[in-house]
């Protein structure tokens, strides 16, 4: 198992991405079944690695039998397998949602069998790229996977109508700038140390500590990955991208895309480069920018009039919170950051699937369009309410525990940064209450007639269910997971923390 699964985890989605579009020549049903089956197999592989890493310790896998530092290594510990499970799991829901045909944001993204096959291939490619970023232990390989995932994401963003193409192009510019900055930084690191392997890098960095080029390398890598992670003030690409992406892809991209980059930032800055002076300073800056991002994202989310745009700004706030945890760097803060990645991915995926579907069925994106939905589709709305409560941080949802860990870490850290982080997280919860209650109040307590921000006759809405089944199933499933993750928060903490502590200990210990 431990010899086969690591390779399969990355190879399966990449091979599937090439195969699935070809199946479109057979029939829609075959394409769907194959894509769903592949995603389920990938999830099974991720879960197998998760269990194996938890039971028998981290797995080091040399690709092609070439050991590091010469070959490319994959590395599976509590952290990377957790994110891999998250990505693979969200992809299953997204693949299910891809059956959703018509979308207000794109005249039927999956209109022909070939188009649907290609979009399913793009999703598999995106998953392969993200899993590669999560698994790899080689900094150049990380760049390649970053670009693979980005290219697939641009395709999915542009699969809607014309606005999607504009948003995708702007995302492409930002993403390529990010990738080039990162690659430039990797060039500096390679020139300094002559290695691309993360463990080897960490061992050699102390000997070049005095070199000014190291500072340049750290800054370039940090800025590059921060753009991808939408760290304030480098978040400019995010709102349009999330809003104009067709719903099935938006649920997936909004849930995991930026988080995987934040994970890469955690790996490189928090683990490999943390021992250097420049790394420590950049982490401190990341912490402060995270605090600012939490506040700006929350305030601008309140200011939005469209529900999906509000969710996008709320994501910027959430990414700030994750990067607060990365910046603090204590074991408790890292737990909070990772837990918030999981909690926010589940809740935000649920909300984007739901809000995207409602935007289509109710023919509009204002909170007023949600009026009366509570009585028309109580189960769907209950699920969306659970996700919203998790975003606010109400127990026993997952969002409560991630905020609890991050608040504890802020108290533990103390000092001005600790106080500011504490205040920002509390304030962001209050802001989230404001902007989510506006939508939930409309859904549960208003009738379509008295919604103030909706023009036109409510009776003119297209008939049909609020959410078609391809979207309703992911929405309800994710809400259940939000609750389960909250209830089983303690075992999670026990599983992830030891690996992080032994990982940083391994890095800071002198090389054997």
């Amino acid at each position: 198992m431990r010899d086969v699964l690591p390779g399969l985890l990355v190879a399966l989605p990449l091979m599937g991405a090439a195969l699935v579009p070809l199946l479109a020549a057979l029939s829609r049903r075959t394409t769907r079944a194959a894509a769903l089956g592949l995603h389920a197999a990938i999830l099974a592989a991720a879960l197998g690695l998760f269990g194996s890493a938890a039971a028998d310790g981290p797995i080091r896998y040399a690709v092609g039998g070439w050991p590091g530092p010469w070959g490319i290594e994959l590395w599976f510990d509590g952290l990377s397998t957790l994110i891999a499970v998250l990505v693979a799991g969200m992809a299953c829901f997204a693949s299910f949602a891809q059956t959703f045909g018509a979308d207000r944001n794109g005249a039927a993204p999956a209109s022909t069998p070939l188009r649907e096959g290609l979009l399913r291939g793009a999703l598999l490619l995106l998953v392969g790229g993200l899993l590669g970023i999560v698994a790899t232990r080689d900094v150049f390989n990380l760049f390649v996977f970053l670009e693979i995932s980005s290219l697939a994401a641009y395709t999915l963003v542009a699969s809607g109508e014309g606005r999607g193409a504009v948003a995708a192009f702007r995302y492409l510019l930002a993403g390529t700038a990010a990738g080039s900055l990162y690659l430039f930084g990797v060039g500096f690191l390679y020139a300094l140390t002559g290695t691309l392997n993360m463990d080897d890098l960490a061992a050699r960095l102390p000997s070049v500590e005095a070199d000014a080029a190291l500072t340049v390398a750290v800054v370039l890598i940090a800025v590059g990955l921060s753009i991808k992670a939408a760290l304030f003030p480098l978040h400019g690409w995010l709102p349009d991208t999330y809003v104009y992406t067709p719903t099935p892809a938006a649920g997936f991209i909004a849930a995991v895309m930026a988080k995987v980059s934040a994970y890469a930032l955690l790996r490189l800055l928090g683990e490999v480069l943390a021992g250097t002076t420049a790394g420590a300073v950049v982490l401190e800056i990341t912490l402060w920018l995270g605090i600012l991002g939490v506040l700006v994202g929350g305030i601008l989310a309140v200011a939005q009039r469209a529900v999906t745009r509000m969710l996008a700004w709320s994501s910027i706030s959430a990414m700030g919170m994750i990067l607060i945890g990365v910046g603090m760097g204590s074991a408790l803060a890292i737990t909070g950051a990772l837990f918030h990645m999981a909690a926010h991915a589940l809740a935000k995926g649920c909300l984007f699937f739901g809000a995207g579907g409602i935007r289509t069925s109710e023919d509009g994106d204002e909170p007023g369009r949600w009026a009366g939905l509570g009585s028309r589709a109580p189960w769907t709305l209950a699920a969306l309410t659970v996700a919203a409560l998790s975003m606010i941080g109400i127990p026993p949802t997952a969002g409560f525990f991630s905020k609890y860990y991050l608040l504890s870490a802020s108290i533990e850290a103390g000092g001005p940064a600790g106080i500011a982080a504490f205040a920002a997280i509390i304030l962001s919860s209050l802001l989230a209450t404001v902007y989510f209650l506006r939508v939930l109040e409309a859904a549960w307590f208003r009738t379509p007639g008295d919604a103030p921000d909706v023009a036109g006759d409510p009776a003119s809405r297209p008939p049909g269910p609020v959410l078609p089944r391809p979207l309703a199933v992911p929405v309800v499933g994710l809400a259940v997971l939000v609750l389960l993750t909250g209830i089983f928060a303690r075992p999670f903490e026990r599983h992830v923390l030891p690996d992080w502590e032994s990982g940083t200990a391994r890095i800071s210990a002198p090389a054997p």
């Binding site: 670009e147 395709t155 504009v166 492409l172 510019l173 700038a177």
Partner: protein, 114 residues
């Protein structure tokens, strides 16, 4: 050193062009300049005067000083492939943007999106 400064200058020009130019196609060209800057940096990193490709010659123990490091050049093959696919995808997007909005000017485009 000169080539490094050249790469840095090229990168800055590209980045500034992406931020400041009004036309999306020009932005794309600026993006290519930026990508080429990174390639120039890596290629010049591995260059050594008087050295050759690392293939063992006629007998004798190999001397590291006689060979260039092939790895950065190999990495750049991959980076060039990445750059080509990104450019191709971007051009495809621009064709769609142009046919739908009949402009590639960013400000006019954003006005039309409202």
């Amino acid at each position: 050193m000169t080539t490094y400064a050249f790469a840095a200058a090229l990168f800055t020009i590209g980045l500034a062009g992406m931020a400041l130019l009004p036309n999306l196609l020009r932005k794309l060209l600026a993006m290519n300049v930026m990508q080429v800057a990174v390639i120039v940096f890596f290629v010049s990193l591995a260059f050594k005067d008087g050295a050759t490709v690392p293939i063992l010659g006629q007998g004798g123990a190999p001397v590291a000083a006689e060979f260039m490091n092939p790895l950065p050049h190999t990495l750049m093959l991959t980076a060039i492939v990445v750059s080509v696919s990104t450019t191709g995808l971007a051009l495809g997007l621009l064709v769609r943007v142009r046919s739908r909005f009949e402009t590639l000017n960013e400000r006019r485009l954003l006005d039309r999106l409202r």
